[in-house]
């Protein structure tokens, strides 16, 4: 087993233990607990918080991927060309909106709970994927496109068999950016009553219980790092298979 894989196994087991058997870590967190307070977060099961956190991220990201890729395909077709300059401006300026602000602004419209978090994650998640897909589809090597036309592929075949596969690594970079931001924003989502791991951190901040803060922070941090790593690996293997750098 390579050193990187060994490290991955250790991190995954640490994460599983933190989520499923938090009581094992009680001695470690003990010194950070104020007198009389609980050492290990026990108001809700950490497993249910983790699943709900990941569920919200997955749902919002899948929706964002579908919408972003479709929109990027539309604006890079001849019929949608008129929208291309504006789309670039929107993708560029839209990403300057702080994700927290998007989350807070969704609350007046949708109330508290998972709703505004989902919508904020979805809206914010679209932009990096949209931008990267647009770049990927509009910077394809002209020689390849000429060859695809030359062998008689229809527009639809060119899109599905040539353009999208070639743009895939860039699309995946966008997905990775978007998912990492979504994991972070979902954590903050617990301030608007979404059922996520941020709840543990917030509970710790409100009661000055540092062990909660550390526990929540560690779990959500490990999830983020592992998912980031997995998506990076996926991207690398696809690049390798496509033979592009």
């Amino acid at each position: 087993m390579s050193r990187a894989n060994f490290l991955r196994v250790i991190v995954v087991s640490l994460l599983l233990a933190l989520v499923l058997r938090p009581e094992w870590f009680a001695p470690m967190f003990e010194p950070f607990t104020p007198p009389g307070a609980a050492v290990i977060y026990d108001r809700t099961s950490l497993l249910s918080l983790s699943l709900s956190h990941l569920g919200i991220v997955a749902l919002a990201s899948v929706a964002a991927i579908v919408v972003a890729v479709l929109l990027a395909i539309l604006v890079t077709r001849p019929q949608g060309k008129a929208f291309l300059p504006l789309s670039r401006t929107i993708a560029n300026m839209g990403q300057t909106f702080p994700p927290v602000a998007v989350l807070a602004l969704a609350v007046p419209m949708l109330g508290f709970g998972a709703g505004p978090t989902l919508v904020a994650l979805f809206l914010y998640g679209i932009l990096p994927i949209f931008e990267n897909t647009m770049t990927g589809l509009s910077t394809l090597p002209p020689a390849t496109m000429e060859a695809a036309r030359g062998i008689g592929l229809s527009r639809r075949q060119r899109l599905l068999q040539v353009e999208l596969p070639l743009a895939l690594p860039l699309i995946l970079t966008g997905v990775r950016l978007s998912v990492v931001i979504a994991i972070g924003t979902a954590t903050i989502g617990s301030t608007v009553a979404a059922h996520t791991l941020g709840e543990v951190i917030i509970a710790g901040l409100l009661t000055n219980n540092t062990s909660y803060v550390l526990q929540g922070g560690l779990i959500v941090g490990l999830f983020a790092v592992l998912i980031y790593d997995a998506l990076t690996q996926l991207e690398a293997s696809i690049r390798k298979r496509l033979g592009v750098k």
Binding site: P98, A101, T187
Partner: protein
Amino acid sequence: MPNRIKSIVSGPGLFFTGLGLVALYAPFMTLAANRIVAGEGVPVWDVAGPEAVIPGFAGLLAGLALGLPAAWQVLRLTGAMIGIAALIWLLMEGSTSLLEGAGTYARVSLGSGFWCLLAILLLLAADALSSLSPGPKMRGALLAVAIVVSAMVLWSGVLTDLSIFREYASRQDAFFNAAWRHLGLAFGSLVVAAAIGFPLGVYCHRNKSLRSAVLPVLSFLQTIPSLAMFGIMIPLLAWVSSAIPGARELGVVGIGFLPAFLALVIYSLLPVVANTVAGLEATPIVTLDAARGMGMTRHQRLIQIQLPLGLPVMLAGLRIVLVQNIGLAVIAGLIGGGGFGTFVFQGLNQTATDLILLGALPTVILALISAITMDILVELARPNKMRHG
């Protein structure tokens, strides 16, 4: 659409004008009995008497209609400005007339119709601008005009009847404190990160093994969700303050400004270091060889060749940091670090929408202004032949 029409009518213009006509039916403003309860929507034609609504409505329609032509971008831009002026006029007249006899605690807020129309008009303006693609100096001038005009509208007091300005009026001092704190967090951490990151980037550029050690660690840190990072800073600094003698006297405490500041510095390092390395690497090898042939030392090559050529990429790194920090500084509000986040989270706790807006809108505007300014600087830093427009 037949091609003749297609070349006359702009696709995005038609799309947004259509959306704008639909948005006219959405509630333009809301009237509520107090600052907490949900308000009742008022359509745009009912916000005031006909003598105020008719010119405003006409202005809106004109603004939307002028967005239609495919050519004449300046006219489209002017149209969007007319539309936005009409929006402000309607808000001004509407807030006064709706509050008349509505009770002391009554509040008028901005409705979904207003927000949609504002977004549509701004998108029309953005579409016209991106077709014009003005050069960096022109963009700077346009940004300055936009800021001055908005400041004049805000300062003139014509909008003070709106609920968000009532929220502002009752906490003016706190607002300016929060603004300074927010700027201090965002720009201060940028300065510290640049002071650490530039030298580190130069060393990483020279030393491949240092680079392969530093960059993965920094991108790992970047991945950690902000709330976790801010949270973990608290015990860390509390420990430093109790374990190292004299730290507490220097103001190292676990809660407030410092943990937030430190978290922002950590997040800022990756873009600064990575873009410094990328910027230094951007110099073509021929150029470097020529410089070496002229007898330039490594130091001279760095200062006279690599830094000027890499400047746009390094500035692009600073743009990422600045925009990111302005947004992340909102989280400081959760750990007592101050800034606009204080209002956002207070507003969420009280379910007072306009207090959330009082925190969120300045943050968004600050981020937008910074992004546009930095984009202009990046373009100005480019060598002449690479600059376009």
